[in-house]
Symmetry: C2
Subunit: 223 residues, 2 copies
Amino acid sequence: MIKYMILDVDGTLTDKNRLISTGAIDAMRAGIKNNLKISLISGNVIPVMFGLKTFLGINGAVFGENGGIVLQEDRIIPFFDKTQSFKFLNRMEKEVNIKPMFTNIWRETSAAFLLNGADPEYIMSEAIKDDLYIVNSKFTWHIMNKGQDKAYAVNYIKSEYKLMDSEIMVVGDSDNDNSMFELDVVKACPDNATEYIKSKSDFVSDKSYGLEIIDIMKYYNIL
Amino acid sequence: MIKYMILDVDGTLTDKNRLISTGAIDAMRAGIKNNLKISLISGNVIPVMFGLKTFLGINGAVFGENGGIVLQEDRIIPFFDKTQSFKFLNRMEKEVNIKPMFTNIWRETSAAFLLNGADPEYIMSEAIKDDLYIVNSKFTWHIMNKGQDKAYAVNYIKSEYKLMDSEIMVVGDSDNDNSMFELDVVKACPDNATEYIKSKSDFVSDKSYGLEIIDIMKYYNIL
């Protein structure tokens, strides 16, 4: 039985323009009323995740920076350090045409940028040399520490709440969700997910951009 | 004709537990489709306001710290300085039993705290001596600079977009909205507003906690 749902935000609870689906909000609130625990996990910064937790009424921990940092009961815990990531960002800014995200002022474990015509392949191969890696969350490119990914966050929840894999469900749609979809937990996705995510999913909804949440909950008898 | 709506968040778009009303989200999005400009203004920190702008799809500037700071087209502009406010917070922490908000790490123009049994009257009277003032936003107490209030933000919008008073509507419900309700703009409020806010309003909805938004828009022919 699913006790804990861990949901990606962009493209999973929102549409392409990042507008959050009111249907997804209603579904999450109904699940919470039924004693389901919900966590959100995103590439976004932790104060934005704090805002989502507050205003949507999320009852579990929320993770920012693709799993690098958590807000758990008013306590912020960064799992990684931002030093290497920002050093690499500064170097790349001089070498290629990228634009640092203005949200970097609130990042604690990674740096983010927009490709301004720069070649992502070059940046990716240079990052590996510094023990970093690059992940694209659709809206933004992120410079991450090795081991810093959403699977890290799912394992954190699993250990904190002493859950079995079969009690955890993850929902996501795109490349920065891949690591979660390689775990042995229950996996579901919207119709707008990538082919890779779909191939790894136990259930693929035919709904998209937030409307899949209620569909997935019904399929797994959570609602 | 109303061209620009400036909305408080807590208690105006949300319920008592700060859960945002999906009805308010739908109403704001419908207004925006009809070419209405919307700004949000709250005691919250600017990255939280950035998150609300992004995920709700707000098309105007968003203000944090009760009007002390704005996010306008990816540019953050603080109108005040936080030095005096934090100095006062540190002094009060030693003198009385208050609890600084963990969100203070993201504040740029003011400091916030929870009353932990401390006497608000004493804190208020001490603040005035330092040319500061204290405002209560229901969930939090804020140490503000003189002149830093929501009316300041409304006047900023008025001047930036060259609007007439009759083209601006403000909606709010509680004490930290008072300054906006002393302006000559159009004023509306939910049924859960304070008696003072109601007495200053041009229209008082009989709906509460977010459901008044569509009601107000219909009354003023915005929808």
